[in-house]
């Protein structure tokens, strides 16, 4: 890798040993992928995937203490993934003890984030790219982000450029102010390796389609045909919400960092089929394929007939339009079933900025009246312990299903369970 004079000076220790190690880490990271140079981070804000103060992650906090002691802080403000805890979410006495033990470093870690350059005290969401969350990169900007669902959204829907960086590495890019140029930062790395032909009889479930695509193409870039038939050719609020959930499933069931949707996402609109590599294989997704994917999901509940004790919606965090739509859907579902409140404790999660805006609307009171709890936490963080693992929790999120014992149901099934069936 060829470094500029300034970059070489940093590597040689001009700003101390710790900064030199930060740059060395980035250089080795780039060299693993054949990067020939560093490029400046050009976005206004960064984003870190590490938002949780789990006691066992002491090595991470110790590393961050080293950075802070050396004055190696982020050159750009950044947002972070959601906080792990919210006392408004139903939990048992024992769970509360476990949470206290597990997240014993939360306060300390949040102090570290503030010192490292967190945007503000409420900049905690996995969907930082939502307008109300305030970290919306522009097309073509170079990012140093981590959080698989945010990276794939920024690349695909916003046309920004970011590799699937890991936690810690993303912060080091923001500290150095430059990142190695490879992969999704290059024109060639953004070419489509796969063609996905969607031939379903209706708009496919975003979560199932994303899961199918992720499992098939893994880390490759898919060019998806046939979705514009259902989503249209404009990046409307509903299309963006769909793509958010589709991308999160692609990224968690595979490791997709970028997808192109024909006639819809910015690079697909501008470059069309010229984005597709020669001889790209074709994956056809029809109703039967989605059914096959769905039937392949394991469920690790001990009692498969257990009555759900909790329902989580919003992994990744829900958009403002999703919160409004779901308020109406829950109201209508309850009315049709002759019920007043949801029959299963249900939590919707969204970004603090989105919740603030939602609370200014009449929908907020209406949602509260249905019994649904609105929170800003990370459902995965709630689920990550043996007690929660034993709980029969249901979700429409493929990401949450992948990383926890939560059981997946389609949105229609979830709606029926929480408003009508109660089991």
């Amino acid at each position: 890798m060829i470094l500029t004079k300034d970059q070489q000076a940093l590597l040689d220790g001009q700003q101390g040993e710790i900064m030199a190690k930060v740059v060395k880490t980035l250089v080795m990271y780039g060299e693993a992928f054949g990067a020939e140079r560093m490029v400046p981070v050009t976005s206004e804000y960064g984003h870190t995937v590490i938002s949780f103060g789990i006691g066992v992650m002491k090595p991470v906090y110790e590393l961050y203490d080293q950075l802070l002691a050396a004055g190696a802080v982020s050159k750009q403000p950044f947002s972070a993934d959601p906080r792990p805890l919210d006392k408004n979410i139903p939990s048992s006495f024992l769970q509360n003890i476990v949470f206290k033990f597990m997240y014993s470093q939360q306060e300390h870690y949040e102090e570290q984030l503030q010192q490292l350059g967190l945007m503000n005290k409420n900049a905690y969401t996995c969907a930082c790219y939502l307008p109300q969350a305030g970290n919306v990169p522009k097309r073509g900007e170079i990012l140093s982000w981590a959080e698989s669902s945010a990276v794939v959204y920024a690349n695909s829907v916003l046309g920004a450029r970011c590799n699937r960086n890991s936690g810690i590495i993303e912060l080091m890019g923001s500290i150095a102010g430059f990142v190695p140029e490879f992969g999704l930062l290059t024109d060639d790395g953004r070419k489509a390796d796969w063609i996905v032909e969607v031939r379903t009889s209706k708009l496919p479930d975003a979560q199932l389609l994303g899961s199918a695509v992720g499992m098939k193409v893994l880390e490759k870039v898919p060019f998806v045909r046939g979705l514009d038939k259902w989503l249209g050719t404009q990046l409307s609020e509903s299309a963006c919400a769909y793509l958010k959930d589709f991308g999160a499933a692609c990224a968690s069931n595979g490791s997709v960092g970028l997808y192109h949707i024909e006639h819809l996402t910015p690079e697909a609109v501008d470059q069309g089929e010229s984005l597709i590599r020669e001889n790209a294989p074709v994956y056809v997704v029809d109703d039967a394929e989605l059914e096959r994917i769905r039937n392949g999901y394991p469920c690790i509940w001990k009692d498969l007939d257990a009555t759900p004790k909790l329902c989580f919606m919003g992994c990744p965090h829900m958009t403002l339009s999703q919160l409004k739509d779901w308020t109406v859907r829950v109201e209508e579902g309850l009315k049709a079933a002759g019920n007043k409140k949801v029959l299963i404790p249900t939590v919707f999660t969204s970004a603090p900025g989105v919740v603030k805006e939602f609370n200014k609307t009449a929908y907020a009171g209406r949602l509260k009246a249905t019994g649904v709890i609105l929170s800003t936490i990370c459902p995965l963080m709630y689920m990550n312990n043996p007690l929660s693992k034993k709980m029969p929790v249901i979700t429409s999120s493929n990401k949450l299903r992948t990383y926890s014992s939560a059981r997946f149901y389609s949105e229609e099934e979830i709606l029926a369970k929480i408003t009508k069936e109660g089991k």
Binding site: A32, V60, R164, I168
Partner: protein, 150 residues
């Protein structure tokens, strides 16, 4: 009987350990999170979607895999496993390494004292050949010798 494969060194080192093979991508967060959080000494794989590894001990094994997948906490999780001394003996990738695994390996190499040599690009044939329990000898130059189980 033994077979030799040659890969590219990502982080250097030598290792000798029994193989643990995943034919699908290793979801690092899903595999490690519960084991690290709750002090599982054997570091049993917690990824219910990975039938090759689910519930099998990973510590000290020569982890043979195509790539890692899933959450971008992956590199941080590997780094943490290394810092806690709960890493595999080595990681052997059939494909070119992915960004999350590379991050974890490089963070561990630069910021911990742990040894977890990592080699990639060993080829599809490597993953077709190697099986759980076969003894792996990894040399510093990225040469991997797979000894058949007796």
């Amino acid at each position: 009987m033994s077979r030799v494969f040659k890969g590219r060194v990502i982080t250097p080192g030598a290792a000798k350990a029994p193989a643990l093979v995943s034919h699908g991508g290793l979801n690092t967060l899903a595999s490690y999170q519960m084991a690290l959080m709750f002090g599982d000494k054997q570091v049993k794989c917690g990824d219910q979607n990975n039938p090759d590894l689910y519930k099998k001990p990973m510590i000290g094994k020569a982890l043979c895999l195509p790539e890692t997948i899933g959450s971008t906490t992956g590199g941080m999780v590997l780094y943490t496993a290394c810092a806690m001394g709960k890493q595999p003996a080595c990681m052997l990738f059939s494909k070119p390494i992915d960004s999350l695994a590379a991050s974890g390996a490089i963070l561990a190499a630069n910021w911990t004292d742990a040894s977890m040599p990592v080699v990639d690009s060993l080829g599809e044939e490597f993953l077709n050949y190697v099986q759980d329990g076969m003894m792996i000898n990894l040399a510093e130059d990225g040469t991997v010798t797979v000894e058949d189980a007796e």
